[in-house]
């Protein structure tokens, strides 16, 4: 059980029987009075945000969430298949459950899947992923002006801006947190 003084960013707690994550947090204490904890929380199921102020007497149960290490196996239409690294059990997530992570999921990638009462609700990817460029407009020679970028499509179908010298068939590294190109990867 958590008390209000345990509240901090990214803490996951149960609230009205739903799992919430603290996204913003401010400690407030009027002179000699009891402490107040102003929180912005995101419902981990619906994504909606709420503002709540807690007092030091308030207590919380930890969110009934569990993080499991899984491997992404393959995509089949709208179904993304994962395998639990410990139990070897396989589960399928919908495109909606996978969310933006689908842009960076490549086969055999290790990731963390967050479950709420056995229901997958979120995926954490490695910070960096190397992907193959599958479609790229040709490099126009002489176009060496720095700051020039062109759009390419990678193997997951994700569209990203890269420097003009990147060509089809090359591998590039993307930061999965920002979705931005980092560097060309030499095989």
């Amino acid at each position: 059980m958590y008390s209000a003084s345990d509240l901090r960013k990214n803490l996951r707690i149960m609230l009205d029987d739903d799992p919430y994550i603290v996204v913003d947090f401010q400690f407030v204490k009027p002179g000699k009075g009891q402490s107040l904890y102003r929180c912005k929380l995101r419902n981990m199921l619906t994504g909606s945000q709420v503002d709540r102020t807690f007092r030091e007497v308030d207590t919380f149960q930890p969110a009934e969430t569990e993080e499991k290490n899984m491997q992404f196996l393959y995509r089949e239409g709208d179904a993304f298949h994962f395998m639990d690294n410990e139990s070897y059990e396989q589960i399928a997530l919908t495109a909606e459950q996978v969310g933006d992570a689908k842009n960076f999921l490549i086969e055999n990638m290790e990731c963390k899947v967050l479950l709420f009462r056995d229901r997958p609700i979120d995926i954490t990817l490695p910070n960096f992923v190397d992907v193959m460029v599958t479609e790229a407009p040709p490099w126009i020679k002489g176009d060496t002006v720095s700051g020039n970028y062109k759009p390419v499509i990678v193997e997951t179908g994700y569209k990203v801006s890269v420097p003009p010298f990147i060509e089809q068939g090359e591998k590039i590294r993307i930061d999965t947190r920002t979705g931005e190109y980092l560097t060309r990867v030499k095989e």
Partner: protein
Amino acid sequence: MSADREFEARRRALELRADILHATRAFFLSRGYLEVETPNRIPSPLPESHIDAVASGPWWLHPSPEICMKRMLAAGFERIYQIAKCWRGRERGPLHLPEFTLLEWYRAGIDYRQLMEECEDFFLYVAGALGTGPAISYRGRPIDLAKPWERLPVADAFARYGSVPLEKALAQDRFEEVLALEIEPRLGSPKPTLLFDYPLAFGSLARRKAGEPAAAERFEIYIGGLELANGFTELTDAGEQRGRFERENELRMRRGRQPYPMPEAFLQDLSRMPEAAGIAVGVDRVVMLFADASAIDEVVAFTPEEL
């Protein structure tokens, strides 16, 4: 590299801090106050329900120098001030550091109303010494430090700015919530606000107001929404003080906190302490005010997270 940049950004605030400390000493020197230093490490803090002292071996780091300063009042020192580092556990936010600087001063023979006037003089003096004059601004709000400041009873503040009246807020245990979230942001602009006459339960060391037994002669200073100081007419009745400490310790235990030992030496001295008033001013927040800083982090050399 990043540390150097932080210092550069804070240089102006740190220079202001030095100037404010210098002006503070000049002000109290001109008024015949004696600067004192009392021990930071003490065997027992005053039992207050919402203040957690930080343990230091079997003793504690003082959350405020008041216990020793009042004993000095009792010993015959009539005008004393101190600039002291203080520690309070579990307090960290945009306005709170677990280690911070308090300016406290005590004066025999005055009550909280006379002390309010001295506070007006103090802030005006500091503004003069810094060269800003009485017209300043804080977070985009105009401030006029010229006397007289607004004097607002707590009950009126609840009636004017709160979603519930004072009695109802107290009954629902929402006093701090309504005060901090609804009322405080509206106080102290353009004139600083002296918020006064707190419910007795929120002034455990303050004298009960004559003719108004439910009120304590306590006040707070707000400037531009920022809470800067807490002062009161001192309670000098040792018997009543003992009863209040017992109640504070009960509250502590009910909230799962350890009770503090009864400060016997303090209570013994209290019975011979003269009528007096005293105040604690958050020096870091005074620097915030004059530096127009939104977070306490901007006005200290290091936050605990940077150590």
